[in-house]
């Protein structure tokens, strides 16, 4: 492991390269991680593709090769999974469509509020972030109770009997609302970091030029925040497309699988009914969809720049 003695090198008049290590040293440092990374990240990413090309039933000994048939099935209306899969994709799409606008704008308003100098700022920052450290399991059972049509706090305070968890559009409002409550702090903190990176001089200069508060927001804050905005938008889109726990615990997919998301359907197909070939194919179709949307996003926001 240890090769040339360092003493010898320090005697030599030639300037040394910054780092001289034994040839094996870097790999020894990397080895423990690379074993985990190889077995649980690289291998499954490729293995999943292999599975998706087979009729892979976990419980049966034979897993025949079917080529692209699992993928074709997802696009042919007469196949078993077609309508369920696309309904779940629709649910994920709707959730994303409803939640992303709130998850991108509301945290920005909160971050602007917290960006002012005032006593207790750190305290409020922590309070708004707090729900995020709780897992979706806690958040889910808690909101299931708050949204209970009969004894839930929400209907009680509204003196209403709204079916928050069993009917649309209420179920969507519930899922979006609890998600905003749960994750608002996360996006707000990222915005806040972005706001603090905008140089103060830009605001001062704008003020000298007589810009109003709104003009300063539009011409200093928004352009300065653009990379952060793109980051938040991308992460939120990915997060929304991954939605699982809220539907699983609060609406249980109700009414009639209307709020059963793609991940829920994929997990059920692969890990409950053990039709893993189809499930793997579905997960790649969803991943590809996300990739296309993200790429589209990047292009769109970059073009606006010029």
């Amino acid at each position: 492991m240890r090769t040339q003695g360092p003493q010898l090198q320090s005697l030599s008049p030639e300037p040394r390269p910054i780092r001289r290590a034994g040839r094996a040293t870097p790999y020894l440092f990397l080895a423990p991680y690379l074993v985990l990374f190889g077995v649980f990240v690289v291998l499954p990413a490729l293995y999943g593709l292999w599975i998706s090309l087979h009729d892979w039933d976990f419980l049966l000994p034979r897993k025949p090769w079917v080529g692209l048939r699992n993928y074709q099935n997802l696009f042919s209306p007469e196949s078993r999974d077609f309508s369920d899969f696309w309904q779940s994709m629709r649910a994920t799409g709707l959730f994303t469509l409803f939640s992303v606008p709130f998850l991108v704008t509301v945290p920005l308003l909160v971050a602007l509020l917290l960006n002012r100098e005032f006593p207790g700022r750190t305290f409020f920052r922590a309070v708004y972030f707090a729900p995020y450290v709780l897992g979706v399991a806690v958040v889910g059972v808690l909101w299931r109770f708050l949204l209970d049509p009969h004894i839930g706090l929400i209907n009680q305070s509204l003196s209403a009997t709204i079916p928050w968890t069993t009917d649309v559009p209420w179920a969507w409002i519930s899922l979006v609302g609890m998600t905003v409550w749960w994750t608002l702090g996360f996006n707000a903190i990222i915005y806040l970091a972005g706001l603090q990176d905008i140089p103060r001089e830009l605001y001062d200069a704008a003020k000298v030029d007589g810009a109003t508060r709104w003009q300063r927001f539009l011409h200093v804050t928004v352009p300065g925040l653009k990379p952060v905005l793109l980051l938040v938008l991308t992460m939120t889109l990915l997060g929304s497309a991954n939605m699982f726990g809220q539907s699983y615990l609060v609406t249980r997919g109700a009414p009639a699988n209307e709020t059963r998301t793609a991940i829920m359907f994929i997990a059920d197909t692969g890990l409950r009914t053990f039709r893993m070939g189809s499930a793997a194919a579905m997960s790649y179709v969803l991943a590809l969809t996300l990739l296309v949307i993200s790429a589209f996003n990047f292009r769109l926001l970059r073009q606006e720049d010029t």
């Binding site: 910054i18 309070v127 709780l134 806690v138 059972v141 972005g194 699983y248 409950r272």
Partner: protein, 279 residues
């Protein structure tokens, strides 16, 4: 324009802040309050914030290990798994990140690119194949399934590499001249300077693992081997009409996360904003 001098002008601002605070805190207080009620009291109308009487009876069925829903056992399983996973993540990623940040070797850039690239693969892609890999390792329905696979995550390496890269080169130069080898430099020079980063990564890894839901729901089957997240979903099924018990489960599950957050609040929030921005 400048309202700072007149306290009255700041009033709407503070009202808004406190209103928001209530929105975030009220559900959590309601969970705590309900967990200290009798079932009759929890369903009484109109609802009251103060339990009448205060009782801890909802916690009793949760804490007995013999019951169908041994929340205490799930709690211990969760703490054990999240701790073991966090140690594994931190241990392997500080070593790897050190090599990637401070050592020259062929393939360094490609390897780092590959690792970071995997951050962009959505996690659900790994669900089915990792289930099969864990099965062939004989880890289904065991806590190993929760401890080991998640430790291969690229996030830890990425995060620590950012941290190590920011340390000045001169430090290790000096150590090198004094005859230290790579391991000594790593252990005596780099690690002590990186304590804040390591602490942040430890807390974040613990919380991520502690809160993970979908994976434990599908790889653990028997209630004895559950952790809290799948456990809470079972608890909800078993006590559908008894909300004090379910809320007591929620309170117990929240305690470690809240304590950790309060202790490391500044680091966690900074860790989130830092890791987010440099992504």
């Amino acid at each position: 324009m400048r309202a700072t001098t007149r306290p009255l002008a700041r009033l709407p601002f503070y009202v808004l802040l406190l209103l928001l605070t209530w929105v975030f805190v009220a559900p959590l207080l309601w969970m705590l309050s309900t967990s200290l009620k009798t079932n009759a009291d929890a369903t009484r109308l109109p609802p009251s914030w103060i339990p009448r009487p205060f009782t801890t009876e909802a916690y009793v069925p949760l804490l007995s290990l013999g019951s169908e829903t041994p929340v205490l056992r799930w709690f211990l399983n969760s703490i054990l798994t999240a701790t073991a996973n966090a140690l594994l993540v931190v241990g392997t990623s500080i070593l790897a990140a050190y090599a990637l940040a401070r050592l020259e070797f062929p393939g360094r850039r490609v390897l780092f690119g590959l690792i970071v690239g995997t951050l962009f693969i959505p996690t659900f892609v790994f669900l089915i194949p990792n289930f099969l890999i864990v099965n062939s390792l004989g880890w289904l329905d065991s806590l190993w399934a929760l401890i080991v696979p998640g430790a291969g995550s690229a996030f830890g390496v990425f995060f620590m590499r950012q941290f190590f890269t920011s340390l000045p080169r001169e430090l290790e130069e000096a150590a090198l001249i004094e005859g230290a080898n790579q391991w000594q430099i790593f252990y005596r020079v780099i690690l002590p300077l990186s304590r804040p980063g390591i602490a942040t990564l430890t807390v974040l890894s613990f919380l991520i693992n502690y809160n993970d839901f979908i994976w434990p729901v599908y790889v653990l089957f028997s209630p004895g081997s559950f952790t809290l997240p799948p456990g809470l979903s079972i608890l909800q099924g078993a006590y559908t009409t008894n909300y004090p018990v379910i809320m007591a489960g929620g309170v117990l599950a929240s305690i470690p996360a809240i304590i950790l957050f309060v202790l490391a609040q500044r680091h966690v929030i900074e860790g989130v904003s830092r890791s987010g921005l440099k992504g």
